[in-house]
Amino acid sequence: MSTIEERVKKIVSEQLGVKEEEITNASSFVDDLGADSLDTVELVMALEEEFETEIPDEEAEKITTVQEAIDYVVSHQ
């Protein structure tokens, strides 16, 4: 079973088309990984599917880095 961190990075990699080794916890989706607004919406939807949770819009807006995504998932397990 992969850790939450691994699962989040895998989704980010698939969704944004970047290699997993290029993704660090501090990576910003928009500034470092080249995501546009539609990418970030899709990313949040992919996280919702993977972790079977619903992320409200106001929470989703705050998820801008890989670490913030991991933190959100951990605190809403």
Binding site: D36, L38, E42, M45
Partner: protein
């Protein structure tokens, strides 16, 4: 990439333009899901598709309910796969001169003809973005640009739909999803059959081709926009009206 084997959702497919469109997409090898508001309508769609030898079936859908839209899209996705071709065709008229138009006549036309497009597009978008391929074709009307007496609600809904088409086309273009509209003129369907005789006659004088269009003539345009051949067309409204609205 042909549309063969792709799932196509056509709302309001029990008769008229919707049915002709369902058959045109079926002929191109798509798996067609047509929707109707009643159980018997859905049954007719299922039987009609089977008679023509096309894959697919009818579903009951209420386009004015997000809950209904979501559950039908989920059911289609489980049974056939995510719909990658969506034709927003379901529509009604509640004509009245503005001074006599009741609020519920306004609201029901806006809800069924315009807000439905928001509901269905939103529910099917995830499947298309995942597939990195999609086609949305919204069935507008010549009335959207020409206007028509007694149809302020209908004209507003259809013009709104064309604006929606352009905005959405920009939003999802990067995912290889095209969003277009087809604006039929006066087509021989139950909807135009309801027009009074004098209005019917007066109409024909406005149409250079001097006849009503057939549902199949709209379906052909929709099928083209849904096809791979139309891959570089997005945000466009294709006028199919016998020349009555040349610009």
């Amino acid at each position: 990439m042909s549309i063969e084997g792709k799932v196509a959702l056509v709302t309001g497919a029990s008769r008229g333009i919707g049915r002709a469109t369902a058959y045109a997409l079926g002929k191109m090898g798509a798996i067609v899901v047509g929707t109707a508001t009643s159980e018997s309508g859905a049954q007719n769609i299922t039987e009609g598709l089977a008679e023509q030898g096309y894959q697919g079936k009818g579903y009951v859908l209420n386009v004015t309910s997000q809950e209904s839209v979501d559950s039908v899209v989920k059911a289609i996705t489980e049974e056939f796969g995510a719909p990658l071709i969506v034709v927003n065709n379901a529509g009604i008229t509640q004509d009245n001169l503005l001074m006599r138009m009741k609020e519920d006549e306004w609201d029901s036309v806006i809800d069924t003809n315009l807000k439905s497009v928001y509901r269905v597009a939103k529910a099917t978008m995830r499947g298309m973005t995942k597939a990195r391929w999609g086609r949305i074709v919204n069935i507008s009307s010549v009335v959207a640009t020409m206007g028509n007496m007694g149809q302020s609600n209908y004209a507003a809904a259809k013009a709104g739909m064309e604006g929606f088409t352009r905005a959405m086309a920009r939003e999802v273009a990067s995912r290889n999803i095209t969003v277009n509209a087809v604006a039929p003129g006066f087509i021989a369907t139950d909807m135009t059959h309801a027009l009074p005789e004098e209005q019917h006659k007066a109409l024909l004088t406005q149409i250079p081709l001097a006849r009503l269009g057939q549902p199949e003539e709209i379906a052909n345009a929709v099928a083209f926009l849904a096809s791979e051949g139309a891959s570089y067309i997005t945000g466009e409204t294709l006028q199919v009206n016998g020349g009555m609205n040349m610009r």
